[in-house]
């Protein structure tokens, strides 16, 4: 039996406002518990919420970036339920009239084809506090620093058909919110997380299967693993004659499995209704246009430009635009070198990425800045060093912080382009290896590589490869 997986994601992105969505408290992460919660966040009797305009502007910018319709009038509603980390007994969210409706993003599948993922809506809401259990035997602590932090909840259509697609989509949103600088994207701190709605159906079926919602996934890896586990579980369940029940499940990363949290019957009736403390949010056409003017070049536009203007492959362009910083770094290198964008791209995606990855650094923290890398690439282009030597130079630059020219001089790595010197080295190698020379001359062409290697060895790798080839061919021919 062939099965099809159907996935929709609800992504929660914390908006990078300085203060909370309905109060003046700071939103900075990691403060002492309950030091960033004022009377409004604590839900004291008599207090009232006041909307942070910056959160609205950020949500609108997100909507514009996904080509969505911005609601001219959106309404905050109360989602009512009791929980200790929810001091008011309700969460202020948007329900029937969200600020952002109907947009889409494109993801690139493994085979290089593009797929459109629909975004049903994105709405503003406040985050809840956190319950703390560690180090508090027998009791639960409540930290309300996070209570009231602005979130945008981005709800996709059930358009994804595999865990990989789900991850690609989530990464795409992650890239986008950081491009827009509306979310720091820090998944460990919970700034960017998602709930996955997962169901399976027989290939060709027109109705969706019953879905389970996996809550609070805060890494791309967990999203992939949790969905794959859940898909297997549902298929096995159905194939063994069981039925999937609509429920909320939690992913346990230690055991790599999902488990039931609450069934549909146990689900809260949230009793949504418009919050009478807040006026409807009006966003007029002028506001929309002025915010549109603030949008940066978005990842897809940037990638298309790299393909068009730099002649990069779609794949390379995609990698280089995965973050705004990486794209800017690459463009800096190209600008300084002035040509050979493909070579620049290879260095950014190759050695630079490898070293960043090795040292667990972001591109903004790179020990070789864009100007320094451009200096190195320039030396390859002007044949001062070979590409191979350049790798050695790059490593030294990374370790010492020196520029390419300094490293080349100190280590004497300048390429040998003096014909006489290369010829002398060739003569020496030929003299040392009479057997191989005889074999070559009797038709063993493959030994050419052996001679190249020996000459390079003799010159410490510094011989200009093109010159070496030419001279060696001549000499070996006798």
């Amino acid at each position: 039996m062939e099965w099809e997986t159907v996935i929709g994601l609800e992504i929660h992105a914390q908006l990078a406002t300085r203060s909370k969505i309905f109060s003046g408290s700071a939103t900075a992460y990691g403060a002492e518990p309950n030091t960033q919660a004022d009377l409004v966040d604590l839900g004291y009797p008599g207090v009232l919420p006041v909307l942070n305009g910056e959160a609205v502007r950020m949500a609108v910018r997100f909507g514009l970036a996904i080509g969505a319709r911005i609601a001219p009038r959106s309404v905050f509603a109360r989602k009512n339920y009791f929980y200790p980390d929810l001091p008011k007994g309700y969460q202020i969210s948007q329900y029937e009239l969200p600020i952002v409706a109907e947009g889409a993003l494109e993801i690139v599948l493994d085979d290089g084809t593009r797929k459109r993922i629909g975004i049903t809506r994105a709405h503003l809401e406040e985050d809840a506090g956190k319950s703390l259990h560690e180090g508090l035997p027998g009791v639960s602590g409540i930290d309300l620093n996070r209570a009231g932090t602005p979130l945008i909840e981005i709800v996709s259509e059930p358009d994804m058909r595999s865990a990989k697609e789900a991850v690609a989509y989530m990464k795409k949103v992650h890239t986008l919110v950081r491009y827009l600088e509306i979310c720091d994207g820090n998944m460990q701190e919970g700034s960017f997380r998602c709930d996955a709605n997962v169901s399976v159906r027989r290939k060709g079926a027109d109705k969706f299967g019953t879905r389970a919602e996996i809550k609070n996934l805060n890494s791309f890896r967990y999203v992939e693993k949790a969905i794959n586990f859940e898909v297997e579980r549902q298929i096995e369940l159905i194939e063994s004659g069981g039925k999937v029940v609509q429920e909320t499940r939690l992913y346990d990363p230690d055991k790599g499995e999902t488990r039931s949290m609450r069934s549909k019957e146990e689900a809260n009736d949230y009793r949504y209704f418009p919050d009478p403390d807040l006026l409807p949010v009006a966003v007029g056409p002028e506001v929309i246009e002025s915010l549109r003017a603030t949008l940066p070049e978005l990842p897809d536009e940037k990638a298309a430009r790299f393909v068009r203007e730099h002649g990069l492959s779609e794949y390379d362009a995609g990698v280089l635009t995965a973050s705004r910083e990486l794209g800017a770094y690459y463009e800096d290198v190209v600008r300084i070198v002035g040509h050979d964008p493909k070579l620049c791209a290879n260095w950014v995606m190759g050695d630079l990425a490898a070293f960043l990855n090795r040292d667990n650094l972001e591109v903004g923290q790179s020990k070789v800045g864009s100007a320094a890398l451009a200096g190195l690439v320039t030396r390859i282009v002007d044949a001062t060093i070979s590409g191979k030597i350049a790798k050695e130079v790059f490593e030294a630059m990374w370790e010492t912080g020196d520029g390419a020219d300094a490293v080349i001089e100190q280590k004497g790595l300048r390429q040998i382009t003096d014909t006489g010197a290369i010829e002398a080295a060739i003569d020496e190698v030929m003299a040392k290896n009479p057997g191989q020379l005889a074999d070559y001359r009797s038709g063993k062409d493959k030994l050419f590589g052996f001679f190249v290697g020996q000459v390079m060895k003799a010159t410490g790798g510094k011989a200009n490869p093109a010159q070496l080839n030419e001279l060696l061919k001549k000499k070996l021919a006798g």
């Binding site: 008599g46 207090v47 009512n80 009791f82 008011k88 309700y90 009793r271 209704f273």
Partner: protein, 490 residues
Amino acid sequence: MTALPSLPAPTVAGLARGLARGEYSSVELTRACLARIAAGQPALNAFVTVTDESALAAAAAADAARAAGHAGALTGVPIAHKDIFCTEGVLTTCGSKMLSGFVSPYDATVVRGLKAAGTVMLGKLNMDEFAMGSSNETSFFGPVRNPWDPTKVPGGSSGGSAAAVAARLAPAATATDTGGSIRQPAALCGITGIKPTYGRVSRYGMIAFASSLDQGGLITVSAEDAALLLGPMSGFDPRDSTSVDSPVPDYAATLGDSLEGLTIGLVREFFDKGLDGDCGQRVREAIAVYERLGAKVREVSCPNLPLSVPTYYVVAPAECSSNLARFDGVRFGHRCESPRNLADLYCRSRGEGFGAEVKRRIMTGTYVLSAGYFDAYYLKAQRVRQLISADFARAFGECDLLLGPTAPTTAFGIGEKNDDPITMYLNDIYTIGANLAGLPAMSIPCGFAGGLPVGLQLIGPHFSEARMLNAAHRYQQETDWHLRVPSAWA
């Protein structure tokens, strides 16, 4: 009862003049009020908290400010606050066991405004629990009694405010009105009450009952007093998104304007079979006074108004069920002894902390918002609410002010309506409409029936407080009903 010191003037306006002329100090005036409060408390139970010490300190500060030449019109005038307004460092109970130990860490905007104007807070006034009631019998701190007849209720929910002002324990009091909670007790206690336009007065620091209906206001002896006190408590507040950013006029400046050419509308639906005959008669007599003052009278109709009580009893409970969710025993308010688990903490804290009427409304509200019922109740009520607003808007196309009764009867007996909540709810039948439409409204005394005061209600278009106060003041210059004091409290 020990001999009551009398207040040197019957109104805030008079007291303010006396203070300005140096006839007495604020400390002397405050002492007189505190003495009346002490004498009145056993009989009336109007106060939950009396802040003697801080009142005298504030009075002394007011006197000092006056001596230094920094006095405003209200400097040194003692007033009291309904216990729904948060007052920094002072117990703020909202009439509930739930908040019987709650000391607010901040001042409500209304309290702050009146403090800044120089008024002296005497204490916090009793009220129906969370402002839910029309008789002040739902208070955790016991019923308030009507100074005109201690066997009768003072009305509610601002029963403490009305009784305190009627017995002249305080020259004036703040109050709130969600469905008539200022106007009905003002009527039943024979004094003046004003509920401003929704959004005129900040709700910040006013413990919420039904957020889309709640509005802070005043209970005073006269319309002139209301005009003096309303300014400092009105205006846009950045902490309340529903407060309206429009200038606050000098309400006292236009009190004496002529009523010549004023068109008064009599809402046909207000003069229904539920209205007590004598009360209706007093209202008609008051209308005759207005005609003598030059006003034209015409009948208007608000056909959807009879739906206001059922509409209100969907909208208000829906909002209250959510507003009162924060009282969960976790951070503030009553917490049950040794809860077994989270559900037990919630159930017992709330079960013990709330009284019967509050629970009834929370349950009603939870029901009307729940899945499957939301459309039939909440949404439908919102649609009817719009129809009622449209009725008023149409009426104000034909007239400047609406006049009618405030309540269908005079004050009823304590305990009389406790068995049937619907009968109790019907007491607000004439007042609820103004809340649903967000309109400003007043009640002013217009005579007596069977020895008990009768109230005349005025309802105006949005932000017509100045015109309404003007109309009330002109009536009060022709009559002295508002100056009548129950003999025991004279």
